[in-house]
Amino acid sequence: MARSVWKGPMVDGYLLDKADKARASTRNEVIRTWSRRSTILPQFVGLVFGVYNGHKFIPVSVTEEMVGHKFGEFSPTRVFQGHSGSGDKKASR
């Protein structure tokens, strides 16, 4: 079931401050975050976030299309190595 509209989008508050700060400073810094559950808001467009996947921070440069999705959707937490004996195993990590 979809989230009620009256609640507004779910975002961890500290991300808003960080986004403001990143905008203020001219250097493009990666904003590291563990908040995979946060919705991507329009004011995040153009910034680069490092979204933690339990192992490392995956750089996600936010585009307009991504607004409304969650950060976690862009930072996969599992690495599929192929099945044993299938031969075409991918290189590790």
Binding site: E65, H69, F74, P76, G85
Partner: protein, 124 residues
């Protein structure tokens, strides 16, 4: 013979049923259309006057996305997800279930027919 929304030529069935041969129109929308045009349930397609066929056609053109347009919309939505690089897009690319279903067993609709595993021995 009635030709509605492109190639669909439903024959001597009831209008309510015949309309559902159009991709994008099911029970709900067929009923809505019949109501808007003012057709009784028992009316069959071969009993329709040209004027009524025209009004059905206009109603569908105006209020509903059907057939090619609908298929294109759906394909575009999936393509958007795939280009975005989000989890749902990745699942579409790999042809695996998108909404968190299990894949240890089942998931045959998305994965297609089972492929034999090389080296796996059959029970004697």
């Amino acid at each position: 013979m009635a030709r509605i929304a492109g190639v669909n030529i439903p024959t001597n069935k009831r209008v309510l049923i015949a309309l559902q041969y159009i991709h994008g129109i099911g029970q709900q929308k067929a009923a809505e259309i019949c109501k808007k045009v003012g057709l009784a349930d028992e009316r069959r397609v071969n009993q329709l006057s040209d004027d009524e066929v025209l009004r059905i056609r206009e109603t569908i053109d105006r209020d509903y996305t059907v057939e090619g347009d609908l298929r294109r919309d759906v394909a575009m939505n999936i393509k958007r997800l795939m280009d975005l690089g989000c989890y749902r897009g990745l699942r579409h690319r790999k042809g695996l279930p998108v909404r968190g279903q299990r894949t240890h067993t089942n998931a045959r609709t998305r994965k297609g027919p089972a492929k034999p595993i090389a080296g796996k021995k059959k029970a004697a």
